[in-house]
Subunit: 258 residues, 2 copies
């Protein structure tokens, strides 16, 4: 059986209509079962401005109050998700849009208040892979936005990277799953300013060394730790690269394996 | 096999959070395969006001320009549809939200311009019932909002009554389908101001007589003509009544059969 590819695309592509169109054309051509997970980009901030809703930041983090959750739901699950689905259909990819509430696929708990009340933000507690599995078996491609639910009727804003990783782990019961993060750089870089310095392969051992040597730090550290957690939980491999990774161009990218 | 119930709920319930909660509780309890189709209510107009987008009316009809289509997509497919799905999940009904683009279920053409350019409004040309069918077979309940697509990447605003009817006809290949319109009155009334004057049964013959006698006119005439068209195209029966029709209370309602 073909591996299942779970491909997460970030806000930088969502915010650029031409780049998004090109990406979706390439995504539609990816062979075998696949799932798309997309971030939100800047459209939610734009709508908040148009509605004159103030952005509520605490310690540099955006707080999801009730109005902000509405905005996120409208933008992520409405405008972005449904336009992606329609464009994939135009590219002959039979897509279907999802939040974690649809099919009860991703259940979360509202993040407990410690020092900061993040509002309607969800931490994933359970993935029910049955509905995506039955759709994949029928040649349909689920497209997830970054929203989950708490099983009590509440939608929750949830990190898209984490959704992709949780889906890959949850579906590893049924498929060999590959988790592919498409972002603005060519991969994990030895030298952050040199796009040619892609580290092509990282395993548990070399990962420890890269951390010790200070190559992996800051934002990349929690991201890669999450990737290794996904590998330990059953995901076959994780790929990190720019949009060309999905079209098998002769472009370098980073592959993570245990 | 149980008949498939396709239940369309109108804007008057969508606009009233308590009435919507009660309705969804009752809907969750409906036995057998079922599909919910919901209208939009007044939330789209409210968002247009918040965004200071002018409403564009020609001859009393709202025109769906590009900005209005975005608003409709955000409200219908985002805010309303996803909150309904989350609430149905809380009521132990495994719901999944749909536009006609999802699963390529409902294909439309942009309404041709004759005297009025309605903008991004779609007239349904094809229903592909395969994806809803596979979900129904797996105990999942599709929830449709009033948006379709043209297979070329364009979402289109489409009448919710028509979507319900097209789905009922499309799925009548696989199921005995019952089309249930939930609206603000108790049913088709002999006397428009008397809620006790429900006409409980209408068939082709009595329908002709009711038109001749002037009992059915104005807005009800095209609605009922569409219902009889659905019956002729394979739907088993059409029920028209208030929200209590789905909970089998001893309330009168109207049943249409050929």
């Amino acid at each position: 059986m073909d591996p299942l590819k779970i491909i997460k695309v970030g806000g930088n592509i969502i915010d650029n209509p031409e780049a998004l169109d090109r990406f979706l054309e390439q995504f539609a051509k990816v062979q075998g079962p696949k799932i798309l997970v997309h971030g939100g980009g800047k459209l939610a901030t734009k709508l908040a401005e148009d509605m004159q809703v103030p952005v509520n930041m605490i310690e540099g983090r955006r707080i999801t109050d009730a109005v902000t959750l509405d905005i996120i739901t409208m933008i992520y699950a409405g405008k972005i998700n449904k336009n992606i689905v329609a464009k994939l259909q135009a590219n002959h990819c039979n897509a279907i849009g999802f939040t974690g509430a649809d099919g009860n696929v991703i259940c979360s708990v509202k993040r407990p208040v410690k020092t900061i009340d993040y509002g309607f933000v969800g931490d994933i507690v359970k993935v029910n892979p049955e509905v995506p599995d039955v759709l994949l078996q029928n040649g349909v491609t689920p497209v997830f936005c970054a929203i989950t639910h708490d099983n009590n009727g509440q939608l929750l804003n949830t990190n898209a990277d984490t959704i992709a990783s949780a889906l890959a782990v949850g579906l590893s019961k049924y498929y060999a799953t590959e988790l592919i993060y498409v972002f603005e750089k060519n991969g994990v870089l030895m030298s952050v300013d040199d796009e040619d310095s892609v580290i092509e392969n990282i395993n548990t051992e070399s990962y420890e060394k890269l951390i010790k040597d200070g190559v992996i730090a800051d934002g990349m550290l929690p991201k890669l730790t999450n990737c290794f957690d996904a590998l330990k939980a059953g995901v076959s491999k994780v790929i990190i690269g720019n949009a060309s990774v999905i079209s098998n161009k002769n472009q370098k990218y980073t592959t993570l394996k245990l």
